[in-house]
Every structure is written in C-alpha cells, then in structure tokens.
C-alpha cells in the first residue's frame, strides 16, 4: 500500500477533488474521458461484410 497512515484530512482533500470532477466536471476532464473512450473503441475490429452479418445460424 502506498500510504499506510491515512487520516481524515487526506480523505476530505480527496473528496473535494472528487466533488469538483463529478459535480462540476471541468472541460479537461470531459476531454480526457472522450479520449479514453475513443482509444478503447479503436481496438481493431474485424471485417464488416454484410454477407457474414446476415448469415443464419442453423
């Protein structure tokens, strides 16, 4: 564990930053999340042949 001795002040400081991110969501946070989603969605997908998509499973 990085910090073995947490105290209440640490938790309150952290909470203030979480409040800022969740309740007021600054534009840089939105951009960061957009980038993450974009990078995750960029995983190479397979070919998009309509022929395969309309194949019936019997």
């Amino acid at each position: 564990m990085a910090d073995q001795k947490p105290n209440r002040t640490d938790a309150v400081e952290m909470a203030k930053e979480v409040e800022r991110i969740i309740r007021h969501t600054p534009p840089d946070v939105i951009r960061d999340m957009e980038k993450r989603l974009q990078e995750l969605r960029q995983t190479p997908e397979a070919s998009t042949s309509d022929e395969l998509m309309h194949k019936r499973a019997g």
Partner: protein, 507 residues
C-alpha cells in the same frame, strides 16, 4: 411400480448404442466429461417414460400434430459417482439417500427421435478440462426429484438441437437464458419451442421453416428482447474484445452467445466459463492498466453440435490490409475445428445503461486519480470488472467480513459503508490489483487493493462518476438523497488487501 427406473453401471450406458445421442461428437463429449469428473460417473439410473418440460412443449406444437405422431415421453438418465443397486433405490434408506445426494452428477434427457438427440442436460461442471483448471461463474443450481429423492447439481445447462422445431441458435439462446432464470428477476423459464416462436415472431404451431433457414443474429436478438432482456450486440469483434466481453460477463454470471461461421455455414455457441493462465509477457496494458481478461487463454463453450464444456481459443486473422477477423478454434473430441466469429450477443438485465467499454474508461480514470493522490502505487495494475446485483454484493461483503478466522476478508469499515449506501438493483464492480500480485501458476484471483462501485443506470459516459470508491485507507461514497447527492468521505483504519468478489452463482 419401479419398473421404469433401472439402475445400471455408467459404463453400460456408454456402451449401449441405443442410448447414444446424435451427433457422435455430442455423445463422445458427454461420455468424456462424465468419465473425467472427479470422482467420475460409476452408476446410472435410467428413468423411462419421463415427461420433459422442453420436449413436451415442442411435441404439442409440432410432433403431436402429425398424422402418425411420435412418442411423447423421453428417457432421462441420472449419473452418480457412488455405486448402488436397484434394491437400494427402492429401499431408499437414509444412508442411500445421502449417498445419492452427495454423489449426484446430473442428468441427460434423450429425446425419443430417430436418431436420438440430447434434450435438457444438466451435468456437473468439470474442475479441469485437458488439465487446465476451469472457472464456471455462470453455473446455476438445478433441483431434481428422482422417485421422491431430492437431488441438486451445479451446472451450466446444455442441449443439442432437434433439427425440427429448433436449430443451433435456439439451443445457444436456451443454454444462455435458462441459466439466468433464478438470477435476474422477471425472467421466466422458456422452452426452446417458445424461443423459436419469439425469434421468428410466430404465433402458430411451427412449420418446417426454421430448420431450413436457421436464425439470423437479429432474430436471436429479438428472442432475447422478447424474453425480457436488453441484449447488447457486438458486431465483428476482435479476438481481444471477444475474450474481454465473454470474461467480464461470465464473471457476472451471464453466458454470452457467439455467432460464428464454419466456412459457409452459420452457427452459434454459448460461453459458459474460462480458464486462467499466464498472460503474455509483458502484460499488454491500456495506459498502465491491464485487464483481467488478458489472463484468460481459453473460453469454455457449449456447442450443440460438437458437445459440452469445450475449450475455445481466439486469435485475430488478417483478411486483407487493415481488415481482420477473429478466428475461434474449438477443441472437440475429434480434434480442433476453426470458425470465424461474427458477433457477440449478451443478454443484459433491463435498465443497465452503462456499457462495458464505458466502465473500462471510468476504471482507468479513477485508477489514475488514485495514483495522482499517491494512494495507489505508481506501478502496473490490473482491473477486473463485473456486473452484480447490489443486494448480492452487500450480502457477500457481510459474509466475508474480516475476522481472525478470515484475515483476507473485507475491512469492517468498508463493509459497513457499502451496506448503508443506497444502490440501484445492478452495479458495476471494478476490482483493482497489482500485476505483481497475480501468480499465473495459481488459478486463484489476486488480492484486491482498491475497488469502485458504479451506478449501472448512468447514461452520461463523459463524466467520471462512482457510487463508492475504496482507495487504500480511504472511502468515498456518493449518497443519493431526496435533496440531491452528497459526497461522504471516510477513513479505513484496518485496511489492506482483501479477497476478490466470490464467483458463486448469484441468487
């Protein structure tokens, strides 16, 4: 009166050609699984004239309407690891009842067709397949009555198609949905006859149409919707995405269905479990966060034409240029067979809005946040994600509270904090561990150093959010109240690693 029950050696059932279901692959694999269980099947009880719920539904919709009708009843064969006789079954002493209950391995229904096919089959999950330890978080408990003796088995239900009223896609949908009846409120048990009708929008008895045409992925999706799910469809996924989605939902107790093609022939299989092994070295990581699915070398699938509990490997195969297709290699009793994967279909519970990919993005954001605050070490971590009933999450926390006899249990402050926090019916749980703590030679999951509970009904995917965050030594909860949402911070004095969320079947 007991003539319809016949106690025989399991080996006699395996040797009797009249009791071997078609196709041969399915019979071979059933025999292989029953012989490889630890302990293996030694005794079988053949129950003749058994009225099976699934077979009779299709009988009354189609077979029973023929001018020359088929037989209405099936044979059900029960398997046991212990040895006992006809007399023991009739006598049913307390000793025999306990022996039968303790050694029950499940049953297989044989449809009275020519050739015989395998109907509803519930066989205990093997602990290893080809020497690989296997995990089956999708398993469920089936209760059985054998001449007044109550029996139970934990299994992933299986069946093969009858090629009359149902096809492989119907069997795959049934193998997924029948496992979810006791896990997702509002999902009724559906027979395969009903599933075919839901997929094809039929409100009449069946013609031969379904056998000649099969079901498209869209029709399969429609069947799930009409059963009460909000299914998610992933088209042409990469090999990595397939393993990620299948691992994640297996861990959530939900068996995904894969649409695949063997050459020109469309097919469908159901994912019921996976194996854990050594990840590639170095572990590939997205922004220093590896995913638990990278430790999964094999998925375990039910294939209605090739048998139950089969190992499946995935790899990407370049088609041309940047295009590629995921190739699935199924290890069948007759050797490996390769197919291309065209789609994943996941039967989501209703009102789960937040998608798996969005959960991954949220997990990455909060892990980096923890590193920035110095509460998570700046080293490679691995995250495991699962969708879980919030009441089940709270119950498991309480059951596994830290104590002298359970030193790796959940810290008391975390348990109390989570129990008191209002949550929706389903939450996403993200567990974070250090890569260094994951021992690839040990199939157990690594200890958890931090976790996040996300609201599964969130619709905003660009705003980081959580209901509860547990960083080492710290707890943060977003308490949803009439007056709004209030953030509550807490410290955890007795913190430290704890065990991962137990992968038991969820109620």
């Amino acid at each position: 009166m007991f003539e319809r029950f016949q106690v025989v050696r399991a080996a006699d059932v395996f040797a009797d050609e009249n009791l071997q279901p078609y196709p041969e692959n399915v019979a071979d694999r059933l025999r292989e699984v029953l012989s490889s269980l630890d302990p293996p099947a030694r005794t079988a009880v053949i129950e003749s004239d058994y009225t099976d719920v699934d077979y009779s539904a299709s009988y009354y919709d189609q077979r029973g309407r023929s001018f020359t009708p088929d037989r209405r009843v099936t044979k059900r064969i029960h398997f046991f690891a212990a040895e006992f006789s006809d007399e023991d079954l009739i006598e049913a002493s307390q000793h025999t009842i306990s022996t039968m209950q303790d050694s029950y391995l499940g049953f297989a229904v044989l449809r009275p067709e020519t050739p015989v096919t395998l109907g509803r089959t519930v066989i205990a999950c093997p602990s290893t397949i080809r020497r690989h330890p296997v995990r089956f978080p999708t398993r469920s408990t089936t209760k059985v009555d054998l001449a007044g003796i109550p029996l139970e088995v934990e299994s992933c239900p299986y069946m093969s198609q009858d090629a009359k009223i149902m096809v492989c896609a119907t069997a795959a949908l049934w193998m997924s949905s029948s496992n979810l009846v006791d896990k997702i409120p509002g999902i009724p048990f559906r027979t395969t006859a009903e599933i075919t009708a839901l997929a094809m929008s039929l409100d009449r008895p069946f013609g031969p149409a379904v056998v000649q045409r099969g079901l498209s992925i869209v029709e399969m999706e429609q069947a799930f919707i009409r059963m009460g799910f909000d299914p998610r469809r992933h088209e042409f996924p990469s090999a990595d995405r397939i393993v990620e989605i299948c691992h994640l939902f297996s861990d959530s107790g939900i068996p995904p269905v894969l649409g695949i093609t063997f050459g020109p022939v469309g097919h469908a299989v159901t994912v019921v479990g996976y194996t854990l092994g050594a990840p590639p070295d170095p572990v590939p990581a997205f922004r220093d966060v590896a995913s638990a699915h990278q430790y999964v070398p094999y998925l375990v699938v039910h294939d209605d034409q090739r048998g139950m509990y089969l190992l499946a490997e995935l790899e990407d195969d370049p088609v041309d240029g940047d295009r590629r297709t995921a190739v699935l290699t199924l290890h069948t009793p007759n050797g490996p067979e390769r197919a291309r994967c065209t789609a994943i279909l996941v039967p989501f519970p209703r009102r789960v809005m937040l998608d798996a990919l969005e959960v991954t993005a949220q997990a990455g954001y909060w892990i980096e946040f923890g590193k920035r605050f110095g509460v998570i070490e700046d080293r490679k971590v691995v995250s495991r994600k699962l969708l879980v009933r919030s009441n089940s999450y709270k119950q498991k926390l309480l059951e596994n509270r830290r104590s002298p006899s359970k030193p790796d249990g959940y810290p008391k402050e975390l348990v109390d904090f989570a129990r008191a926090l209002p949550m929706p019916r389903y939450v996403w749980l993200i567990e974070v561990s250090y890569v260094k703590d994951w021992d690839p030679t040990n199939p157990a999951l690594p200890p958890v150093i931090a976790e996040f509970v996300l609201d599964s009904t969130l619709t905003e995917d660009r705003r980081p959010d959580f209901l509860m965050a547990h960083f080492p030594g710290r707890l943060l909860g977003n308490v949803v109240k009439e007056s709004g949402v209030e953030l509550v911070p807490e410290t955890v004095s007795d913190d430290g690693d704890h065990l991962p969320f137990p992968d038991i079947p969820r109620p």
